[in-house]
């Protein structure tokens, strides 16, 4: 039982990441009709905002420490971060420690700008072009973005730890009446899950309860009619793109303590999130979220060792297998609409 609870938590955690990425992807697709292969790159850029902030806070000046020597036998240079020098030990170290949560605040405007730049600079020229062209150009963009990141940060994963306060595990089991220490789960992963739930809730509320959201939803349902009503849906596109970029970026920022980011973290998520979107049904926001959590949970359960022993290799293919079964039984995914992307 404990192991089932744990795998459920793992699944919800994985699912949060899938759902957040898929949400942005399907938002862009549903409103703009663009298949964005660079969406994984947005996730990656978000992660690297956290890395950058962590590095910026860590920028140091060097002081010679005559008592120690470095690997070449020269006098050792000891680093003191500028933030510690400027703000004193307490605040300085707090900034360094809390760099990931602080990055969330930084990432919102930065990702919005990146999203706007991407939409205005490139994507808007592709609204009327075939999906194949959109895929190709955004794929090219994704490669360029990740190569730029690689040129600056190298290819190895970069550790970006969560604040000290979130290190360690929470005894989830005791809440549910298990023995102490039976179901321990790291604080940060729980934080990630609730953070994802919050973001998903905000996006839905925004679409549900604002006029802007109403127009966008109408545009997703029937673009032509909205256009005939004299509403310039195109103007809302850039906002939607920025929102999608922010969602992807925040998913990336918060994921860094879980997975040390490297330059192709976005590509690794891209294929999976496409599968998620399609399983959920192209253009369906609830579908994307539901499929994200569903696939995350299934993937976790398929990794249990007795299941792997039963069906060798199932942990590697479960997502694809589920995708095939769902697409064959439900032609447009879980919640897809007719006629979307079927040509």
């Amino acid at each position: 039982m404990e192991s089932i609870i744990l795998q459920l938590l793992n699944g919800l955690d994985k699912g949060s990441a899938y759902a957040l990425i898929a949400l942005g992807l399907t938002l862009i697709f549903g409103t703009l009709g663009v298949v964005n292969f660079a969406h994984g790159a947005l996730f990656m850029m978000g992660a690297f905002i956290a890395v950058t902030l962590n590095m910026l806070f860590g920028i140091s000046f060097e002081v010679e420490d005559p008592t120690r020597t470095d690997f070449l036998g020269n006098v050792m240079m000891v680093d003191t971060p500028y933030v510690v020098y400027w703000f004193g030990e307490g605040v300085g170290n707090w900034l360094i420690d809390w760099s990931v949560p602080i990055s969330v605040v930084v990432a919102i405007p930065v990702m919005a700008l990146i999203g706007i730049a991407m939409e205005r600079g490139l994507i808007r020229f592709f609204y009327k072009r075939p999906h194949a062209d959109q895929i190709l150009v955004t794929f090219g963009l994704a490669i360029v973005l990740q190569e730029i990141i690689k040129a600056f940060y190298g290819a190895n994963p970069i550790p970006t730890p969560a604040p000290e306060a979130f290190v360690g595990s929470f005894d989830v089991g005791q809440l549910l009446g298990f023995d102490p220490f039976a179901v321990m789960y790291p604080y940060w992963r729980l934080v990630y899950f609730f953070f994802a739930a919050l973001i998903i809730g905000l996006v839905f509320a925004f679409l549900q309860f604002t006029t802007f959201g109403m127009v966008v939803r109408a545009g997703m349902a029937d673009r032509e009619t909205v256009g005939l009503l004299g509403i310039d849906i195109d103007k809302r596109f850039v906002t939607m793109f920025a929102i999608a970029a922010i969602v992807a970026g925040l998913a990336g920022v918060m994921y860094t303590p879980i997975l040390s980011p490297n330059y192709h973290i976005g590509m690794d998520f891209l294929v999976l999130s496409f599968v998620v979107v399609v399983v959920g049904g192209m253009g369906s926001l609830p579908g994307a979220v539901a499929a994200g959590f569903l696939l995350g949970i299934l993937q976790s359960f398929a990794s249990m060792s007795w299941i792997i022993e039963l069906i060798p290799g199932i942990n590697q293919v479960v997502i694809y297998l589920v995708a095939i079964v769902i697409l064959l039984t439900r032609p447009r995914g879980l919640m897809g609409r007719k006629g979307v992307m079927e040509e």
């Binding site: 404990e2 192991s3 744990l6 795998q7 938590l9 793992n10 699944g11 955690d13 994985k14 120690r68 470095d70 690997f71 070449l72 050792m76 690689k150 190298g154 290819a155 190895n156 994963p157 970069i158 550790p159 730890p161 290190v167 360690g168 595990s169 039976a182 321990m184 789960y185 790291p186 940060w188 992963r189 303590p257 879980i258 997975l259 040390s260 490297n262 192709h264 973290i265 690794d268 993937q299 976790s300 359960f301 990794s303 249990m304 060792s305 792997i308 942990n315 590697q316």
Partner: protein, 452 residues
């Protein structure tokens, strides 16, 4: 206009009598190598010789590849008499005097393996066919090493493996034209086991997470064999997909499995992620069966340790070489590498540098670039001064036998390079295994192939 059957670069470089190559005898007997500068693939001309450095420049191991390339450039400089000479001054053989190889200036070409067997073979082929490389070296994974080794065997050039740790490279898939300086999982097992016994005792229950590919299986088999000999019990071993990223669903069952040791048979990004996440899940600080829970990473690397950050503290593993070794050779190499690039070399850089020197030396001793001559010179070759103590290139399987390091992640590293400390230098005798060891017995070297 002339037609000939050897590769065109070789033809150009041998200069005048291009057509003669066709008629030259291709079968050599005894030690007549010195006369033979034709009759093998890519025979170099009189002025220069081209080596092919095939390293991962893109993909997950790009940083290791970059470090390998730095080491190769350093080796080339030293062979050509530039720089401070590095390990040329500490190498027990004094044949290399900074005048290139056999009086020919060393030039090199580079390729990108992408850590992908197909891409690695394509880039090796292009170096052999287009650039006339006489020797191929490098790589940061066993799959690539085995694939390129097979290619070099067929093409008739020497392959000096870079970082490759699976047993198969000099076991099941060994080839006469291929040589490995790096250690292997069997050696890791025999070096690590006594240390683990000293640290954790002989009554332990181990849980393995293993990367689901050749190297992972090889590593798990070796560690299992040795720890089970100690009296450890293997509770479970779970295969994880390569590049899984999030290992949570493999790590959560560990805590309640009754195990008290977690062995992570992972490398590269997998190792960084699984180790960091294992620490996040509190495994390192846990108590199980009344003992402190322990995490072991059999193959440690400084570049990976950097990615795992503070998670490496007090984690034990093995490594081929570390820059803090006090011997003269290691010091000389670390000094010239550090001076040139500003940070200490990795184990991948070390093995690549040494392989280049060993090749150059073998050619010099054989008096010929003919692959068969080089093979003869390297087989059973004893040397010292290259950082791992007295070393033997065993004739039967082309594997180097030397000391193996057991290291531990530092708790409070002084700087970003000083992450590992050496716990034990396991003597060569202890890690030497029999030629007919069951994990290696399947392979056959075949015979050396000089190509053309």
């Amino acid at each position: 206009m002339s037609f000939s059957k050897v590769s065109r670069r070789g033809v150009m470089k041998t200069g005048a009598a291009t057509g003669v190559a066709l008629a030259a005898p291709t079968l050599f007997t005894g030690a007549v190598w010195a006369d033979g500068h034709t009759g093998f693939t890519n025979a170099p001309g009189d002025s220069s010789v081209t080596l092919g450095f095939n390293v991962p420049q893109t993909g997950a191991y790009a940083d290791e590849g970059a470090d390998e390339l730095r080491a190769y450039q350093l080796a080339v400089q030293h062979l050509n008499g530039e720089g401070d000479g590095g390990m040329l001054n500490t190498f027990s053989e004094r044949n290399l005097d900074g005048t290139g190889i056999l009086g020919r200036r060393v030039e090199f070409v580079t390729g990108d393996t992408q850590t992908n067997s197909d891409a690695a073979r394509a880039s090796a082929r292009s170096m052999i066919e287009r650039d006339g490389a006489i020797m191929i070296t490098g790589g940061s994974s066993s799959g690539v090493a085995v694939a390129v080794q097979g290619l070099c065997q067929d093409a008739g050039v020497i392959f000096m493996a870079g970082l490759t740790h699976a047993n198969d490279t000099t076991g099941k898939d060994r080839r006469a034209n291929g040589f490995r300086h790096f250690f292997n999982t069997e050696m890791t097992g025999s070096a690590l086991a006594p240390i683990l016994e000293g640290l954790y005792g002989s009554d332990r229950r181990a849980y393995h997470l293993t990367a689901d590919y050749n190297w992972g299986w090889s590593q798990e088999r070796s560690i299992r064999t040795y720890t089970e000999n100690l009296g450890w019990e293997t509770v479970n071993s779970v295969l994880t997909p390569v590049g899984a990223g999030d290992f949570s669903s493999y790590l959560t069952p560990v805590a309640n499995s009754g195990a008290d040791v977690l062995i992570l048979n992972h490398y590269g990004g997998d190792m960084v992620n699984s180790l960091t996440q294992a620490v996040q899940f509190g495994l390192r600080d846990m108590q199980a069966n009344g003992k402190d829970f322990a995490v072991v990473v059999p193959l440690f690397s400084r570049l990976m340790a950097q990615g795992a950050g503070s998670a490496i503290a007090n984690i034990h593993g093995s490594t081929n070489w570390h820059w803090s070794l006090p011997d003269e050779g290691s010091q000389a190499f670390t000094r010239s590498f550090g001076t040139a690039y500003g940070f200490p070399p990795s184990q991948a850089a070390h093995t690549c540098y040494v392989q280049t020197l060993l090749y150059a030396d073998a050619v010099t001793r054989a008096g010929s670039f003919n692959p068969c001559a080089v093979v003869e010179a390297l087989e059973g070759f004893e040397f010292d001064g290259l950082g791992n103590g007295p070393t033997l290139y065993r004739a039967e399987d082309h594997q180097c036998f030397k000391d193996v390091l057991v290291v531990r992640g530092k708790e409070n590293p002084d700087n970003e390079y000083d992450l590992l400390e050496i716990v034990e230098v396991t003597a060569r005798d202890q890690v030497t295994y029999a030629v007919d060891h069951p994990d290696f017995v399947e392979g056959q070297l075949g015979s050396c192939n000089p190509g053309a």
